[in-house]
Subunit: 263 residues, 3 copies
């Protein structure tokens, strides 16, 4: 399995990726899935989440604008996805910012099998039990070694852990991957982190053999598109559109030449 | 009545188009109305939907991210719009994907007069009683003849029926229209279907004499703008902005030359 | 204190601006804060709004898509912000359109100290007790003198009042400012008004000594960016991205040369 073949699988299988996500970046999450060749669906009514899972290939939950109702629906969707053996991605967006967010993240982690936990350094560290404070939804500096945090949490929960940042760290399947694609612009654009979770869900849905490698491959492709987009963008506003264009322009040559994934 | 005069009416009257729509594409729905010259309002609190209707020219309901509360508000808004004789557009977004969605679509169709039912092929077929399965919010292939489905449903419910796709089919007022504008890019962009419903509402609000022709005219203008936009776009991300630009650039010459509406 | 130093404070301090805002323009509100150098957070669950305030520098409430739950959360957030002495901005989006909106605006104004009331002419006039009707969320023409309305309301409520429009009027701190930056394009773009409230919150959060001047400075910088953006945009669709780019490109020279704030 290589990175480009993971992308090809997405384009061939067009996985339906069900989202329970936040209201800020919901459009971007849907469009990035569609740009990659998947089919996004965003539905959060408790009455239909389980049935929607019955036609899905992956579930992405993002707690960015969580409420109690939302978490109840997410819980049900995750359990239904577990039953079908679909990958469940949890973006612990803003974990560490409030106790409510921490508590609800833990409820989700206890109430269903989460296959891929994704967040920035302080969010994932918080979920892993470290005492850190997240500044809203942006990461705070943390001193801990990210590799150790990711590996420990992945082992404890038998899942894949993705820590996004300048260098992304992916631990799972007893392996660790580092992704060095991307650029500084991404941190200045609302939604780049949320889209990363949707991309991971899309790649895991189409490449269910190895979630850790699928996540690393997805991040690499997405961030290569970001590298292409920054050449065209005048700033964070126009970057958004170019990123969603460039995802569709990824070719085998580009991916092979530009990927920076090492294990 | 011709297509351009329908567009002129929109620009002259600037209809207030009240929306109860989904959270994914709500910005795009608002902006497409504004780009056409209308005035969008998005308000879903059950306490105010009826009063908002009292100052509106049209109502657009889109069930993309429906919940029970949302449907209750939509129901009230639709009944209030019926009382005032305003056009009510229902985008049956995702009908066929879950039973909840089918049931709620039917509740809306039974609880108020829906003047224009709009969806893609599998969504409208489902509402018309065919056994089809919608893949999330994207259309599935169906074998039935779209003209027959549209005409039958329009006759049964004495309403206008719009099936969007490569070729749009509009049945109503004992007529049938085919709209062949647009392009393949549209299917790759999240929100193009939702915006179509908002455009139809805007055109029907400003041209209440003939909803079927207004719908066909609105779709044609919108899709001509899409044809112009694709010349400028690098992909689905930048297409979005160009589409919303090009809507404002439609002139009489362009519309006359490019429209592909036949009955 | 001058305008550029207000902008510099934003960039240096990177204030966390907590939002309870509407679902239509929530992305744009977040991104404009980020483009200016602040850190946006959008969280509305009643269980966490108070704790989120404990790490914030400002609160922005926008009632565009209000519901009863939303207002309860906003109320709590505002009281918590009052306790910490943070600036609270209320965008009375759509006030005058329905009684529900008027009543809920008044509840917020009575239930907490609102430091900055922001709206277009008819919205602010309505809150000030004038009999006006707002057309959805777009302004209606009003005959009253905006300076008088702003000054009277600012005095009555001991707050800052911002009336946005072709010329913005800011009254507070016993002063009045007029901002003549910006352009006609802005009225054709969904979200420019909502973003203005977020900008005001960001500037007030970083410049708490004088909310009225901070508001005027923020509006001027934001509208200078709009002047730059219109040169690059093909219409209201692409304007959106360019505006969010140009905010990051504001320099001391540009601000000094282009600002049109007078008192």
């Amino acid at each position: 399995m290589d990175i480009y073949s993971c992308l090809s699988s997405v384009r061939e299988k067009s996985p339906l990726v069900h989202h329970l996500t936040n209201w800020v970046t919901i459009y971007d999450c849907a469009q990035v899935v569609k740009s990659f060749g998947g089919s996004p669906v965003m539905a959060h009514a408790v009455e239909e989440v389980e049935e929607m899972i019955s036609i899905a290939s992956a579930l992405v939950v993002n707690i960015g604008t969580l409420t109690t109702d939302f978490i109840e629906s997410a819980q049900r969707a995750a359990v239904a996805a577990n039953r079908r053996g679909l990958p469940v991605v949890l973006d612990v967006c803003g974990a560490g910012a409030t106790q409510f967010r921490d508590r609800k993240s833990m409820e989700l982690l206890e109430g269903a099998r989460i296959d891929i936990i994704k967040g920035n350094a302080s969010e994932v560290a918080r979920v892993a039990g470290y005492v850190v404070k997240t500044k809203g939804v942006d990461s705070s500096e943390i001193q801990e070694d990210l590799k150790s945090i990711a590996e420990k949490l992945a082992a404890e929960r038998s899942c894949t852990v993705v820590i996004t940042g300048k260098q992304d760290v992916v631990a799972g399947n007893s392996k660790i991957y580092y992704v060095d694609n991307g650029n500084d612009m991404m941190a200045g654009v609302v939604g780049t982190g949320c889209m990363a979770a949707s991309v991971i869900g899309t790649f895991a849905g189409a490449n269910p053999e190895d979630y850790a490698f699928a996540a690393a491959a997805g991040l690499s492709c997405y961030e290569i598109a970001a590298e292409m987009a920054v050449e065209k963008a005048g700033g964070p506003g126009t970057f958004r559109g170019h990123l969603l264009d460039c995802v569709t322009q990824l070719t085998e040559d580009i991916v092979i030449k530009k990927q920076k994934v090492r294990s």
